[in-house]
Each structure stands twice: as C-alpha cells, then as structure tokens.
Symmetry: C2
Subunit: 281 residues, 2 copies
C-alpha cells in the first residue's frame, strides 16, 4: 500500500513524497519520485539517486536542481531514504556515519543490523519493482547515480546487478570503502570481519573482478577542494581498477569544488544528459 505524503507541480511534472511498508526492511520506508511531464503520455526511463551520509529521501529533490533536466530529457527520478529508520536498535543514532542515515546500500550480515539494514535488497528488488508497478516506468531503461556514500551505493549496486541497471554515474563516491575509515567502520559492523564480504561491496574490488561491465562508460565528477577526497573517497583506486578491467571511465577532477550540493548542482546537467544518452536507446 503506497501512501502519498505530498505531491507538488514542478517543471510541468509532479514531485512526490511517499511512504510504504517495506518487506525488505521490515519497517515503513519513505522515498521520493519526480515524474517528468512525458510520463503523462506513457512509460519513461528511470534514474535512481542514492544520497550520502545523514541525508534523507528529500535531500536530492530539494538541493540538486535535477528536475529541470529530468523534465527536459523525460526521465523519472527516484530517491530512497539512506537507511532503515525507527529500528529501535541500541546505539543506532549514536554516529552520523553509521546506523541512521548511513545504511551504505548493503544487506547487513551481522546482528543486530541484519534485521533491518537491508538497503541493497530494498532498492534493487522491492523499490525497483514498486516503481515499475505503480509509476509509468520503463523496465529495461533504468539508471543509478549518487553522491558520496550514495556514489558508492550506485557503483556497487550497478556492478552487482548489471541486469537491473543500464547506466551508472557518481558524484564524489566512496570509491574504495574497504580502504577508508568510513567504509571500514561500516563494513566491520554491518558485514563483520571477513574481508571477502567487504570485497563484494567495494566498487574498486568489484570492478577489478570484471571486464567492461558498462561498455557505454561510467561518469564520475570529483571536486579537488573536497575535504574528504584524500582520506575517504580514493577515486584513483577505482580509476586504476577501471583501467585494468577495460571499463571506459570519465573521471573529471574539478579544482575548487567541495563535497556539497553546490558542487553537485553545478554538474547535475551533465549527469542527466549522460544517463539520457544511455537510457533512451
């Protein structure tokens, strides 16, 4: 049962916020959808956006300025929340980089997190199916992108499920989470100490085990004034993995830009155009 929280006219389409009982998460979840004007005439391509640490299903729709270009290209935008909520797990709200708002787009394997922190199953199976069922969406024309933790999520979900996503890009992704403090903390708690599990949710490790998974290319934008670039993001590791895997990658490094939505909004137009080229075929 899909509950509409609010809907707003926006660039000739509809910006909506919704809630539903998620079976994958075992709790209510919220998500947002922007339907472009073209969706009134029939199914359109879909682009999932995964947000970063501390964000919600609202962040992208409020701050990124993507609806203008989604309306131009006729692409539906879908943004889930960034974790399970109201789990009642002890300590779930103690950190800004773990637990609430920090689901890392994986299925947790360790107690107590494994009961509800199952964002991979939620997005790839439940939410994707819900969108295809309840919104005018084209099933074989689905892309995914995201920012920071959500850039990690987009790359990882695309590489783990290339049958589900036909296009992928990222802004300042956590590109090698096994090798940075944010990822090590989250993976250790969600996945446990087994490093083989970590590799299955590490975009650079996944890419190293594949050959040209996205022949149409991957687009990544990274600000060189990003305060997290050196310690947490490590895009050069993903870049090397792409080179070894014969994966075309456009990694653009932008002097002066930081980690926030003023950076993201600046290059949003290019990402929508990139996904439009990949998804309109």
């Amino acid at each position: 049962m899909l509950e509409c929280i609010s809907e707003h006219a926006c660039f000739g389409g509809v910006q909506g916020f919704y809630r539903h009982a998620s079976s994958a998460i075992g709790l209510p979840m919220r998500f947002s959808v922007y339907q472009p004007p073209q969706a009134k005439a029939g199914p359109v391509p879909v682009l999932f956006y995964l947000a970063g640490l501390t964000c919600t299903e609202e962040t992208f729709m409020i701050k990124a300025g993507a609806q203008r270009f989604a309306a131009q290209h006729g692409i539906m935008l879908v943004a889930p929340d960034t974790s399970a909520r109201d789990t009642g797990i002890a300590g779930v709200a103690d950190s800004w980089d773990f637990g609430n708002g920090a689901g890392f787009y994986l299925d947790a394997m360790q107690q107590p997190w494994s009961a509800h922190f199952r964002m991979e199953s939620y997005i790839v199976h439940e939410l994707r199916a819900l969108i295809l069922r309840d919104f005018p969406a084209r099933p074989a024309h689905i892309g995914i992108f995201g920012h920071s933790m959500g850039g990690h999520g987009a790359l990882v979900l695309a590489l783990r499920h290339p049958d589900k996503f036909q296009s992928v890009s990222a802004f300042a992704p956590i590109a090698a989470p096994s090798q940075c403090p944010w990822g090590q903390k989250a993976f250790g708690l969600y996945l446990g100490p087994d490093s083989a599990r970590w590799q299955q949710y590490d975009a650079s490790a996944l890419m190293a085990a594949r050959t040209t998974p996205y022949p149409q290319g991957i687009l990544i934008d990274q600000g060189l004034g990003d305060q997290f670039l050196q310690a947490q993001l490590l895009p050069h590791i993903f870049e090397a993995a792409c080179a070894a895997a014969n994966q075309p990658l456009t990694l653009r490094r932008h002097p002066g830009y930081d980690h926030g939505y003023y950076f993201i909004s600046t290059f949003m137009e290019d990402h929508l155009a990139f996904h439009s080229r990949n998804l309109q075929r």
Copy 2:
C-alpha cells in the same frame, strides 16, 4: 567587519555565507551572496532575493536553483535573513508568522519590536551599501525579488525606493497585506493601529498612489494550486492597482503549482532573464 561563515565553488562562481554586526538591526545578521564567474573580471549587476516566513539567508541559495542562471547572466545574488535574530524579546518565537523569521521587510514603529525589527533600513541602506563596498557590484544596476512575505518585501521596497532598485519581480507575493490575516497581524504589532502607516507598507496601496513607477514592467508568478492564494496573497488587488497606475505588469497564473520552492524553481529561469534584461542596460 565581515565574517565569512563558508564559501563554496558553484557554477564557476562562489556561493558564500557571511555574518556581520548590523547597526540598523543592532545585532549580528547573516546573509548569503552568490558571485557569478563574471564578478572575477569586474563589477556585475546585483539581484536581492527576500525569502518568506520561517526562512533564513540559506533557503533561497539551497532550494531555488538560481545560481545556474545568475552565472549565465553574470548577476550577483544577495539573500538576507528574514528578521532580526536573538533579540531576547518576550514572545518573539511564539508564532511562525510573526517575530523570528517574519520581519516583513519594514521598520517597526511599536515597542518592543522597533528596537531591532528594522529590515527595511537594514536591506535598503546598510546591506545594499555593504554589498557595494565589499563585493564587485554595480551601484545603478540593482534588482530585487522575493517570495510570499519576501514578494511583499520586494514590491514594497522597490516602490518606496525606486532610486535604489532598477528592477522588481515576485513569486506568490503577499500583494495587499493590509487586507489579509498575515499582514494585519504583522502590521498591527509592528506598526500599530494607524492605517496610514499600513498603507506605506502595502504594495497595492503604494502602487495606487503612483504612476508607472517601473516602466520596464513588473513580473509576478502565481500558482493556482497555492493554498494561500485566496486568503493571504490577493494578487488581483495589486493587478488592479497596477492597471490604475498605468504600471505594466505580467502576472502569470499557473494551474496546479503550489506555494513552495518546487514552484519557484520551475520559473526561476524566467525571473533571472527578466532582471538581466532590465539590469544589463
């Protein structure tokens, strides 16, 4: 003394947030400035944006998507906060439509508000002078626009100070505040019971007493799905006043659009183009 809170690269320019000790307000005030890339080469036109009830100096810069078009046209954007803050006045935080976040862009005449609630003097004199002194701004190329309470503010400050502002537009303005509950509450408390004072801060009353104050025209966008249209905004009264004053007005009524920033962002491009035409001359 201008204190920089933060600066961010954005569309080739700089999005900044600043704080200073305001003499007009008698307390510290915050404001935001977007400097387009053209400002690196020399002074550029300036466009003030006045936000609505409950907003701050951040709201417009985060939600409106204006920087893209400010960068295209080479216009600087300036957004003040919406009231004095931390005044310590009893009851100042009791209402969402009066006091904190609800300064109504006037100089209060009644105690205890008159000590600090002086947004007209702050914007028209102090902040305008500060921008011209500390940022690369062209003095005779300054426009003003705003939303809701800030649309009221833009129209009123432009009509009261046509020597200071060369262009004016609004989104869903409180267009006849003397005749609506928001305006009556605010004017009664800030200005007192004298209706002559109210007329001096009522855009429709001010327009009725003038002849073609803005011959280049005024642009107003209004959503017809706006929940405040009938009781609070009353654009038809301003429309009639413009007709009587021989003031060219483009009042666009948009079916389905509501009062929020999804509406504002949809038509932001047109407002920047409008002000650019008026200010680049």
